[in-house]
Assembly symmetry: D2
Homo-oligomer: 148 residues x 4
């Protein structure tokens, strides 16, 4: 039986990044818990930390003329967080495909998963607001995430 | 050929509710457009208006001891909005199933769809924080949304 | 008795602008009332409406190359507002002096004063971020506000 | 010369508390800098840390039935902060008088003062929403702040 050409490697998520966050009063709503939209802000904090940990801070990317506008955001709420809770904000790159990438996020307290979700981003050249393939500097930070 | 028992009617979305909203400076971010998390706040404004239009304001529901905590939120971003834009915020009940209901939302400007999304809610008794079947007062407001 | 040179007219506040606003869940905090920082967002909404009413929208000012960065903000909290409250947001120009202007704001419910406050702004040329005398187009909208 | 009866000690500010904070995208506005209302959220973060450092976290105070609603807030803006800036948030109790206390806050970057301000709080019994003298547990944390 002839040897098979190895299939293209499936994309592997990047290393996970983690950030601690203390819930403030302004994060809560009259139900006494963190307001649902504020988790997307926490996801953004986690992504900022992720890019810093990957060695390619978002500010540096913008300085080079590229941005990562959000195409899609999703959150699943399992348990609430409240004032003064110390949260762990996790994020990792799930995949990179052409001009898009997906970042997954988790919000945990003492390890327990409270909220999970993701964002899908386009890679965009700021000058003309056109989508471009995810730039090599970012791919170089997480080569195992690239599909195909 | 025997007559068939008519199939259970498929759920139909409720009437759509619409609200006008003017983007403020605080809604924007340094990209010059509305920050992605703020659309979930706009979805909430649209839902509040929807429940008022259906004749069962959320404040009344809470006064009766029930809440609609969010299990899932999703947004698809197609085009950006910016400062002083006049937006139309649309919302409708997509379905009601047991202890859950789904609300769809759209953010439009001059009719053009900018962001669409949805939230899935549990119906919860506040006293013991237990899920309960969606309460009859709410079902009565949109009977055609109920599945089975 | 010799005629007196008339004293320089004291500055008079501009006409007041008013905007209706419905409190959303995201505006509240776990105390069950509107979070204190969010009133500054309401002040901004009131200022945006004020400039529109004066015939010189802020977006137009920015398009002409000028901005009104905030030097000082103040709020006095008298009574709380809560979810679904319908608020009236009032604003008026208190004075214009050289490169500065002061805007006063009030948040009312059914006429009752809940929060009052003000902001002091510089007039700034965006190109070089330098302060400049309040531009004639804005002065023309409220000539009675100019001191001296 | 007879010894003088020592005058009542003037109130002395408490020890200063400091917290690091990284600016996120959602904190900024289309001017490219932190939106002015968000500094009041940073002040709140600084106050939360202050009460923790004083040994009397706000959550504990609420659990004992007392709250510190805000009567007045003020901010002076000297220089802007932007995305990914690492800020130092300072806070201290300036004085305690009867049922009121004043907290001062500063936001700095690399030691440079960007924004300063303060809040004045009432001490309130949650059960009946009545003002009460600042509770002994809090006074015990900063006895030198008490006037008279």
């Amino acid at each position: 039986m002839p040897e098979q050409t190895p299939a293209a490697a499936a994309p592997q998520p990047s290393a996970k990044s983690c950030l601690q966050y203390v819930v403030c009063y302004g994060d809560t709503d009259m139900m006494g818990v963190v307001y649902y939209a504020n988790y997307l802000v926490l996801f953004e904090r986690a992504r900022t930390k992720l890019l810093q940990d990957l060695g390619f801070p978002y500010r540096k990317m913008e300085a080079q003329g590229f941005a990562l506008p959000i195409l899609e955001a999703h959150a699943d709420y399992r348990a609430p967080a409240t004032y003064e809770d110390v949260l762990e904000l996790w994020a990792w790159v799930e995949w990179i495909k052409g001009a898009r990438l997906k970042v997954c996020c988790e919000v945990r307290r003492d390890g327990r998963l409270l909220v999970s979700g993701h964002t899908v981003h386009a890679c965009m050249r700021i000058a003309d607001k056109r989508p471009v393939r995810v730039i090599p500097e970012l791919i170089a930070c997480c080569p195992q995430c690239v599909a195909e």
